[in-house]
Amino acid sequence: MLRVEGLYAAYGELEVLHGVSLTVEAGQFVSVIGPNGAGKTTLLRVLSGLHPTTRGAVVFDGEPITGFPPDLICERGFVHVPEGRLLFPGMSVREHLELGAYNRRARTHLREQMEHIFALFPILRQRHAQLAGTLSGGEQQMLAIARALMAKPLLLALDEPSLGLAPRMAAEIFAALRQLNHEGLTILLISQEVTQALLMAHRAYVLETGRVILDGPGPALLHNAQIVASYLGIAATS
């Protein structure tokens, strides 16, 4: 479904991705973990066309999408739930869902897709007329995911969807992601919640200072001494 080969990216002179390669098969749940500043957000922004790549190739759904603008990449079915959510504060929940389905492929299924999403996140049905800026953090994250789902993704890529949420809310988000994956949606998840992210992952990648330093089946990585030492040790105490 997604093949990333030797991807490089920089901010001005500062190179932050130094040849990242990874693969996501159709139907898989893939997690990317790594410390702060590793380049996880940059990686997703490059994949979805928000940030330029300096070198490397991205093949999605059998076709190269390297250097494509974000609207085309979304239309192809690679849909990004960004860090910070990037909602439209003065627009209602319903309007977000409509805009999520802006691409031609999704627009024809707008009604049924909206029903599907209200079933997944019932709170959004209650809040459908409310402005995004007035929602709680957890509701905003649900809305960001819902907006992305409206685009009829082939692959849903999420950047730290549980960041700053109460544990109960975070658990609800993870449960929704697991359900979506069971329904057949391919998922690429970036998360600081290492245990959760690894447990759910068919495959996981550890990114450190712009390089993949480790990869393998999620649960297997969870038992890797290196991971336990560098992340779980810290995560457990913090």
Partner: protein, 287 residues
């Protein structure tokens, strides 16, 4: 009392033209991040087009059929041909575009002055000077026509922005361009469309202005002052804010002329603006 009421109502009528100019101006600011100094100058240009057509017997309202499509294309062309290339070259677009559009406004003013001379012009139509009597109020038909035009256009803009897919895309880009791009919205298309609509609305404002006021090549400067006032009071974040601010500025300007000479009205307005900004530094409608 009747005098105050008269001043208030005509102020609100002319305020709708300020509101329309302010609406287009803030659309361009919100979506394209350009301070479109040339905005009122284009409206004055449209007023001259109305003048030209009226001399050939075309009613100002009929001239809309020419002005609106022409100004829409002008807006799209201006974005694609001038603003977008400037933005792609990098640098501070706000500053670059301000200098650029200021230069264009000056150039347009000079062209108008070269063709028609620097003096003021009035568009004369069959109903000029006639008024509708409403109790103690006498409402000039030209004012009513101009205000009606502005109101209908503002309502159409509002419906477009809130009820149609492309309109919602415009608001999305306004509120969060990256979020909009991630919704498969093509920023270039939306910005181009916004520019076209905003300049077309400046054209309509010019037609309304030609109905209500006399105008000269330099009068865009006075209008620019009003536009700035309107967007500062109304904030650039919402159409509703801009519209209320336009009415407010129109009403206040007119009311102030009851107590001070007309030439002093801008001074009075800026004094009230100063007080307002001291009390509410972010404008009246900032979320």
């Amino acid at each position: 009392m009747a005098q105050v009421l008269q001043a208030l109502v005509t102020g609100l009528l002319t305020g709708s033209v300020y509101a329309l100019l302010g609406a287009g101006f803030s659309l361009i600011w919100g979506v394209a991040h350009v301070i479109n100094i040339v905005h009122p100058a284009l409206a004055v240009g449209a007023a001259y087009a109305v003048y030209l057509l009226a001399a050939r017997g075309v009613d100002p309202l009929a001239s809309l059929a020419v002005v609106v499509p022409l100004f829409f294309l002008l807006g799209v062309g201006f974005y694609e041909g001038v603003i977008r290339p400037a933005a792609r070259r990098g640098g501070d677009l706000v500053l670059v575009s301000m200098v650029l559009t200021f230069g264009l406004a000056a150039a347009l003013e000079n062209v108008l002055a070269a063709v028609w001379g620097p003096g003021p012009r009035v568009v004369n139509v069959a109903y000029t000077g006639r008024a509708v009597q409403l109790g103690v109020l006498a409402l000039p038909i030209t004012h009513l026509a101009g205000a009606g035009l502005a109101t209908v256009t503002i309502a159409a803009l509002y419906l477009f922005l809130h009820k149609t897919f492309p309109g919602k895309a415009v608001r999305a880009v306004w509120q969060n361009p990256e979020g909009a791009a991630l919704c498969a919205i093509n920023l270039r298309q939306v910005t181009s469309l916004t520019y076209g609509l905003a300049i077309a609305s400046a054209g309509v404002a010019g037609v309304a202005l030609a109905l209500i006021y006399s105008f000269s090549p330099a009068s865009h400067l006075m209008w620019l002052v009003f536009v700035f006032l309107v967007v500062i009071v109304g904030g650039v974040g919402s159409l509703v804010g801009v519209v209320v601010a336009g009415m407010l500025v129109g009403a206040l300007t007119n009311l102030s002329t009851l107590v001070i000479p007309f030439a002093w009205a801008p001074f009075f307005l800026f004094a009230s603006l100063g007080v307002l900004l001291l009390l509410r530094p972010t404008g009246l409608f900032r979320r």
